[in-house]
Amino acid sequence: MKKSFIERAAAYPHIVWSVLFIIAPLIFVVYYTFTDADGAFTTENVERMFTSNYVLIFINSVCLALIATVICLLIAYPLAYIFSRMKEKWQRIMILLIMIPLWMNFLITTYSWMTILEDTGIINSILSLFGLSAHMINTPGAVVIGMVFCFLPYMILPIYTVMSGIDERLLEASADLGCSGWQRLTKVVMPMSLSGVISGITMVFVPSISTFYISQKLGGGTFQLIGDTIESYFVGTAINYHFGAALSLVLMILILISMAIMNHYTDSEQAERRRIK
């Protein structure tokens, strides 16, 4: 069927939107990365990243984001499975409960975690009743807690969506064919929910690796992540868009590579399953 003029014209807003707000900013990032203050071509911004401690900042960010993502996955996977096997009414309620924290601005959530984890905070005042105390604020652990809390819903929701689509009869069939509970999980549920896990991992890992607010408030600024560093080059004392853009570009490439690796293995896994079917 040939598309009418109106139908084609109606797609233009999409195109304009993507060009204006997705393509154009990316071009600017690349442009700034490879120019200096006078607009001349240079690779100095990229080289500088490998001559100083910036490599360490990248490693720090990757480590914390990785830990947070794995913890999110470990919490979210069983939860999503349990939710997806509940009665429909309960499913709706549970998902609503997962969504509620998202209605609150995550800056406020993070700020509240600061007062919860402080040495004079809520947890410690309860602990002190029993003569205990735990130093939590301004440690990498506190940052990971903040990341997990803020981004957990983004892990649960995609996994839940995929799992609730798994046909109950497949599970029954596998049981009939002699699968143990464990085998059912590893041979049926896990392969079928893989796509949800992958999008969950993407949705948690990417904001975790680039966050700056959480690390500043809960880490106390005693160690730096890549998000903090990028921020400081855009609004800090020495504004240097060129170096900031270079850091952003490398971060984007890093994320793209890790996503590509994940997708490469899991996509072929799913294609395989479809072929067998």
Binding site: L64, T115, P140, Y233
Partner: protein, 410 residues
């Protein structure tokens, strides 16, 4: 058809967004004020709502309606980033001294002449009440671009319950190992470096890299003692007793004291002096109204309301000579805000931050970044991450091997 509907819906959304972001108006004037957070009397806790008062004042003066759009910024650098991008339309900004110097140099500020604007509108002009000490300052020697709003100094705030009296007096308190884990440091390179520079009696405006490196080594020595690097979180942490020692602006000490009576304050011998002054950006579309607003901010009732609300020292003689104000502030506050024998102009020239050249700024920022990242994370974080990465690698390997086996099987 479905595709068309989606697209149409999308187009409507874009249109709505465009409508929302475009300016309304036509039947009234607009004034865009861009100020620090918590830096004007805003009507909370029975104070005077200055922007509302101005709307009434303007109506009376000109017979026209006006809407004041008020937005805030957290630091000079944020404000500078926005104004210098050329995309904003603010009419009033209140930068600090060194930033005014920089912005004048870059042609970002408009020349103002309050007296002639007042004359034109038939308004009483209050500029003459600005004290002589606060005119012709280094950043604007001919008073062509700015009208001082407040001034102050940085001092050390401490918790009297937690800090011993014999340790007080200097910047050394921020380096005192007795208070490890209870000390807060500025999370901004200029103020952070300055604490070390004032302690070592170094020039805070030095263009010599070694001066900054010396200060950096001092900050590195301090790092293990620091609880966290903060800006506005300081209120929370000092008020709750989470931290015991912090350097901050004198006016803000009183805001904290209102909540936690155990806090004390002193000025070290050498410390930063700053002036925040009202300016009109060169890109402003309402320069005359902006000057009327500046003049209005200098009028007696409004200036006092602001000074009492924000607790910063005022350069306006209608304020600092007003008996009601002096009484309201109380003896202790007056002593800290307006210390006897304090030579403002001299101290400002000696200790104020000046605009640094681009090369030095770059160096300062990278030294600060290096200081912040030194030490990295505790080893167990790297070990955990390494183990997880290994586990993921094994997981992927298992998937790949299983797939290969299956391929052979079919």
């Amino acid at each position: 058809m479905k595709r068309f509907c989606v697209s149409a819906l999308f187009a409507v959304c874009v249109l709505l967004l465009a409508l929302l972001t475009s300016c309304s108006g036509g039947d009234h004037d607009d004034l865009y004020v861009y100020n620090w957070g918590e830096y004007i009397s805003d009507g909370s806790e029975d104070s005077v709502n200055v922007t509302k008062e101005f709307e009434a004042y303007y109506k009376e003066l000109t017979g026209r309606d006006i809407k004041v759009h008020y937005t805030t910024y957290p630091s000079n650098e944020d404000m500078y980033a926005k104004i210098s991008s050329g995309t904003s339309n603010y009419d009033i900004i209140i930068p600090s001294d060194y930033m005014i110097e920089r912005m004048i140099g870059e042609g970002l500020l408009a020349e103002i002449d309050i007296e002639s604007v007042c004359e034109k509108y038939g308004a009483e002009c209050y500029y003459k009440y600005i004290g002589d000490d606060y005119r012709g300052l280094y950043y604007d020697p001919e008073n062509k671009y700015s009208v001082p709003y407040t001034y102050g100094r940085v001092g050390v705030i401490y918790n009297t319950e937690m800090v011993d009296e014999e340790d007080l007096g200097g910047w050394e308190l921020l380096w005192n190992e007795k208070y490890t884990g209870k000390i807060l440091q500025f999370n901004n390179s200029r103020d952070g470096f300055a604490t070390a520079q004032y302690m070592l009696d170094l020039d805070v405006n030095s263009t010599d890299g070694d001066t900054w490196r010396r200060a950096q080594s001092e900050l590195l020595r301090q790092k293990p003692l620091i609880q966290s690097y903060v800006m506005d979180e300081i209120y929370n942490k000092m008020e709750s007793g989470e931290a015991a020692v912090a350097a901050y602006y004198a006016g803000d000490y009183f805001t904290m004291l209102d909540i936690n009576e155990e806090l004390g304050f002193y000025y070290p011998e050498r410390t930063n002096v700053f002036v925040d002054a009202m300016c009109v950006p060169a890109g402003s579309a309402n320069k005359e109204i902006a000057q009327l607003f500046i003049n209005f901010m200098l009028s007696e009732d409004i200036a006092i309301a602001n000074a009492e609300y924000i607790y910063y020292a005022s350069p306006n003689s209608l304020v600092f000579e007003n008996e009601g104000y002096i009484e309201d502030m109380g003896e202790e506050a007056m002593e800290i805000l307006y210390p006897e024998g304090f030579n403002f102009a001299e101290e400002l020239n000696k200790y104020a931050y000046r605009n640094l050249d681009a090369g030095t700024l770059e160096l300062v920022n990278s030294l600060w970044e290096d200081m912040k990242i030194t030490g990295g994370l505790p080893n167990h974080v790297y070990v955990t991450a390494g183990v997880l990465a290994a586990a993921i690698a094994v997981g992927i390997a298992v998937i790949v091997i299983r797939r290969k086996r299956r391929e052979r099987f079919y």
